[in-house]
Symmetry: C2
Subunit: 253 residues, 2 copies
DNA sequence: CTAGTTGACTGGCCCGACCAGTCTAGTCGC
DNA sequence: GCGACTAGACTGGTCGGGCCAGTCAACTAG
């Protein structure tokens, strides 16, 4: 007849209210929350409680507190950092292998290209061309710049595909793969050469996209990822990945 | 010459240390952390700081504090809840549409089946059969039981595919889609009928998997998701999804 | 009009206290 | 001897007060 009432901590209810206000858009990024001593009056709780709530919101990437700022805690612009962190934690805890990450990445990335090729507007594909050029230019500016340009390119792909999820996934997966690779990096081979090779691959895929050849772009993208990482996997993992690489209907070595 | 030192809050360093201990596996699930008053001695900080650190770790889903528990805060078993939450938050903030979620889900799910069909062991596929039966039995036990059985089935698929990521994604996507659908639910149609229909679809896909027909299973899975949700989308969204549904090489209406 | 100072705020952190929940050891009744 | 009960020693949850360092803005001296 009656429902059991699980005791809810005070700070949790504070979190709930503020979080809802942010997620619903009632409070927008760059807005400021009232100061802690003010919040503790409006919520009628101690400062400890307010602070714990703010810590939680901060760890969720929703707000940021700066010591001494008279404007109060700042509501942060949306970011996928939290998603990246939880994905990264999951990867460590579940001991995700490079094979698993690449299988997933191949699936997601190739279909993003396919969607972009089939549904992207001419302007969006033109933007891809620009991003591609920026990427090639970034080779000279070092690895970080290149990584950023690469990210921007994939963001454009997701835009052309008309699906933000593909962009987010690519970013997150790239980050996690990066973390995993750092441990098994091959003594910093010729990165310059790798970047150029990467650009060549991207060019090929982009060409297929331009021709509105969705399947071709997807296939090229699959091979691109596979070839890039194949050397870091043992034979049986390579096979498990290559199953996804070849076009449907044919299974490779 | 010298690096700028951004001041790191005390509680953050506490979080770092404990988090690293957990993520690295040095502290295992169901282990207990020392009590707050004890931690505050070992870290040489006030209880406030310890509590803020614990709140953060709690919001990360790594530990749980129960009032009065003499054993201290508990290290939680791994869970994808945090990933689900951040994904859910992202979906709200970025206003992800049903179309976007389904496009992604179709891509991921179909390839999971494909991998399962091509690489799953006979035992794993047998387990799929068992899970399928449990799902059919669960129809009689209500929606919640059915949802659980459905989840378990997809977990088996990911297992057969040999990739935990596909299972995680399916779970997370399912949850987010569920949240989105709650708002546009069609007056609780005949859920019983829908469940039966869902089982029928799953059976078809499973049959293809049994025959090791990866492409067939993938194709059936794509259609299955599409058909299930098509009515909830406007025409142009339907088209953007159907592009992914048809086998490569052919594009549908 | 600018450069520097000052003061009123901010959040970060600590302390001590109190309450309510939880487990356990010991007690009481059988 | 054994089970039910109780009391106590913990636990975390919350509060208030206090101090410090950082930040910003208004004000002041040049």
């Amino acid at each position: 007849m009656f429902e059991p009432v699980r005791s809810v901590r005070a700070y949790e209810r504070v979190v709930e209210q503020i979080e809802e206000a942010i997620l619903s858009g009632r409070i927008k990024p760059h807005d400021r929350l009232p100061a802690e001593r003010e919040l503790m009056v409006t919520f009628d709780v101690g400062r400890t409680t307010i602070r714990e709530a703010l810590r939680v919101l901060q760890s969720k990437g929703l707000v940021r507190s700066r010591s001494g700022d008279p404007n109060g805690p700042e509501v942060l612009p949306h970011s996928i950092d939290r998603l990246r962190e939880s994905m990264s934690a999951l990867a460590r805890l579940e001991h995700l292998t490079l094979r698993e990450l690449l299988q997933f990445r191949i699936v997601v990335e190739s279909q993003a290209y396919r969607l972009a090729a089939l549904l992207g507007t001419d302007e969006q594909i033109e933007a891809l061309e620009t991003a591609m050029a920026a990427m090639e230019a970034a080779i000279e500016e070092g690895e970080d710049a290149f990584a950023r340009a690469d990210l921007a390119f994939h963001e454009c792909v997701a835009l052309a595909a008309g699906n933000k999820l593909f962009g987010v996934s690519t970013t997150v997966l790239g980050s996690v793969v990066g973390e995993l690779m750092r441990s098994k990096i091959t003594a910093a081979a010729d990165r310059r050469q790798q970047m150029r090779e990467s650009c060549r691959r991207h060019r090929q895929v982009l060409a297929a996209v331009r021709e509105r050849d969705g399947d071709g772009a997807a296939s090229l993208a699959r091979h691109s990822v596979y070839d890039y990482y194949a050397e870091y996997m043992v034979v049986e993992d390579r096979h498990a990945v290559s199953v996804l690489v070849e076009d449907e209907g044919t299974v490779a070595t």
